[in-house]
């Protein structure tokens, strides 16, 4: 079964054992969580809040993606579909139906999860490379649907989505107010993923990643486990996309395009596949890079390609994976 060795098996530090620290976090992870929370609290006073909100949306997106690749060993090459559809539905709910932002985001996440249930049901029939190709093809189908469907606004997208009032009374027009909401959503999603990974359910997921036939022989219905993981991942990706369209007031085809699926793979790869904090760091690196290099146009694609190649050839653990390896801890 050498072939089925999970993609992250060599990305995980040798010290992958559970030292029961605080709330299921290892001591190192708890420290890193502390650093992250402090950063979230201080950052909006040092950096532009809209940029930070964009970063957090992509960080949550990458964390959701990492739930599949890092802990089940499934590479979805079509996660933009759930991210983008979440964005469209939330935008439509907020604009056309005039719903409050939290309800709109829940609708976006729920739609993405439902879509993930259908797509996952089809895709989990194959593993490895086939799974990646199938998810990419299904996402392309959703992309074409979005191009044609009237409610997405086609090439124009859904524009001027109102930020609205949280719970109906707290106006979110000020960037800083909205920032705290987005930071809250991100933290909630992050902790939820952490909780999933460290639950008995998450243990079964990891056993599927390591050796699926053995998990089956132990009596687990691995297909059910994989499907639920896919739905959770798609749903959280949808929440990330929904939050992004509320923040920016726009939902467009860019977010459902295959290149967005590639970007989230890149973020997770740069940060470290199968690490809890890797996707956050990777998203920060890639979003920052895009921000600074935006005027270079198509060269951004080239640079992203180069980073892909370097990461795959020489840097497979990613930033967080390398740090964890150096410090001999689990992050």
């Amino acid at each position: 079964m050498a072939d089925s060795t999970a993609i992250t098996a060599n990305a995980i530090p040798a010290t992958d054992r559970e030292d029961h620290g605080v709330w299921g976090f290892s001591r190192a992870q708890f420290g890193a969580l502390g650093v992250m929370v402090v950063f979230l609290a201080v950052a909006p006073f040092l950096l532009y809040p809209v940029f930070l909100m964009k970063l957090l949306c992509f960080a949550l997106f990458a964390c959701a993606f990492n739930l599949l690749i890092g802990y089940v060993g499934l590479l979805s090459f079509g996660h933009a579909a759930y991210f983008g559809m979440g964005g469209y539905l939330a935008g439509y709910a907020a604009k056309a139906w005039g719903l409050t932002p939290e309800i709109s985001i829940i609708i976006g996440g729920a739609t993405a999860a439902a879509l993930g249930a259908v797509a996952g049901w089809v895709a989990i029939r194959r593993q490895g490379i086939y799974f990646a190709m199938i998810t990419l093809a299904l996402a392309q189908m959703i992309y074409f649907f979005c191009v044609q469907a009237p409610f997405t606004g086609g090439e124009d997208g859904i524009q001027a989505i109102p930020r609205g009032r949280l719970l109906g009374f707290l106006p979110l027009d000020r960037d800083l107010t909205l920032y705290w909401v987005v930071a809250g959503i991100f933290l909630l999603g992050f902790l939820m993923i952490h909780r999933i990974i460290h639950s008995p359910y998450g243990m079964v997921l990891k056993s599927i990643r390591e050796n699926e036939p053995r998990a089956i022989s132990l009596g687990y219905r691995t297909d059910d486990y994989k499907l639920l993981a896919f739905v959770l991942s798609a749903g959280l990706a949808g929440v990330a996309g929904a939050t992004k369209s509320i923040v920016f007031g726009i939902a467009t085809l860019t977010d459902v395009h295959w290149s967005m699926s590639g970007e989230v793979v890149l973020m997770t790869l740069v940060g470290g596949l199968g690490t809890v904090f890797g996707p956050v760091v990777g998203a920060a690196v890639i979003v920052t890079m895009q921000n600074y290099l935006a005027e270079l146009g198509a060269w951004v694609t080239v640079i992203q390609g180069v980073i892909f190649v370097i990461c795959v050839l020489a840097f497979r653990r990613g930033i967080v994976g390398e740090i964890a390896n150096l410090l001999k801890v689990k992050l």
Binding site: N10, M133, M141, G262, T301
Partner: protein, 301 residues
């Protein structure tokens, strides 16, 4: 003839010129699906890598033909010979320098690496040539159209279908009927054993990749006069070809050829009967096939 046309129109419920026109377009798209999925299958068989760069290499083939004509004055026929050699060689270099380092790792890394390489190539071409697309003239010998009685068949389009068929069948013959093909099939089954018999398997792997890339490049040359030559032409195609590969299963060479042409025709028919679904029909078929026969139509489970 007229009664034949009437019969067709009665059965299909659509004007015959529309029906045949779309069928021809479908056949041409199918020719490209077949060539591309054949290349992917040959590469996957030996390297166990899904070559995401395949689309970019197809696009490079089209651009190389354009460059030969515009910059060196070498016409279409020269391009048909030179382009696969040159682009195939770039593939050989890529395999030696990068892809060969990944064979011991999870196959998904190969997918990620070739995806990255595809991004680089596409980005460079977009910087150099913009994304609007360049025209490539149909060569003089293939201008004009044949009158088939029930429709006019542009000569070049007929040529593309025939050339693709010949290429596909030649590849199939080489793999199934020659000694080289026998080595290739044996190495696909058990590479260490074949190597123990004294066959230089690493070199065979490199050349196989080069051959698969050359096939994509010829596809690009054939496509240049039909589609406008632009940097995105490959990526849009490769995602559909992935679905074609999933439907056919990569186990059988002949299977990928049949699936490629068949799906092209189905897509063409969809344009006649329900145009809104023409962009998605192949993906829908993929989902249905996966539910009914997860290994693909010609695949081995």
């Amino acid at each position: 003839m007229d009664s034949f046309l009437d019969l067709i129109e009665t059965i299909s419920g659509r004007p015959a010129p529309l029906l045949f026109g779309q069928l021809l377009l479908g056949l041409i798209n199918g020719a490209f699906y077949a060539m591309m999925s054949l290349g992917l299958a040959v590469i996957f068989g030996l390297l166990n890598i899904i070559n995401f760069t395949h689309g970019a290499q197809f696009m490079m083939g089209a651009f190389a033909a354009w460059m030969l004509l515009e910059w060196a004055g070498l016409n279409y026929w020269w391009a048909l010979v030179l382009v696969p050699i040159v682009i195939g060689f770039t593939g050989v270099v890529m395999e030696r320098l990068m892809i060969s380092r990944l064979y011991k790792l999870d196959h998904l890394y190969g997918l990620l690496l070739t995806f990255g390489l595809g991004l680089i190539i596409e980005g460079v071409f977009r910087n150099q040539f913009g994304s609007s697309g360049l025209p490539y003239r149909i060569p003089d010998q293939l201008q004009g159209a044949w009158d088939l009685g029930f429709m006019f068949l542009p000569v070049y389009r007929g040529w593309v279908v025939i050339a693709a068929l010949i290429l596909c069948l030649a590849t199939w013959l080489v793999i199934e009927k020659t000694r080289l093909g026998a080595y290739l099939r044996a190495a696909t089954e058990n590479a260490p054993l074949v190597q123990a018999f004294g066959v230089n398997v690493p070199r065979m792997v490199t050349l196989t990749y080069g051959f698969g890339v050359a096939l994509a490049a010829i596809g690009g040359v054939l496509a240049a006069p039909i589609y406008s030559v632009n940097p995105q032409m490959g990526t849009n195609l490769i995602i559909v070809v992935f679905a074609v590969v999933v439907i056919g299963g990569m186990g059988s060479i002949l299977g990928s050829i049949i699936t490629g042409f068949g799906l092209g025709i189905v897509e063409g028919l969809t344009k006649v009967y329900y145009p809104e679904a023409s962009a998605t029909v192949i993906f829908v078929i993929m989902a249905i096939v996966l539910l009914a026969r997860p290994a693909g139509l010609f695949g081995r489970a």
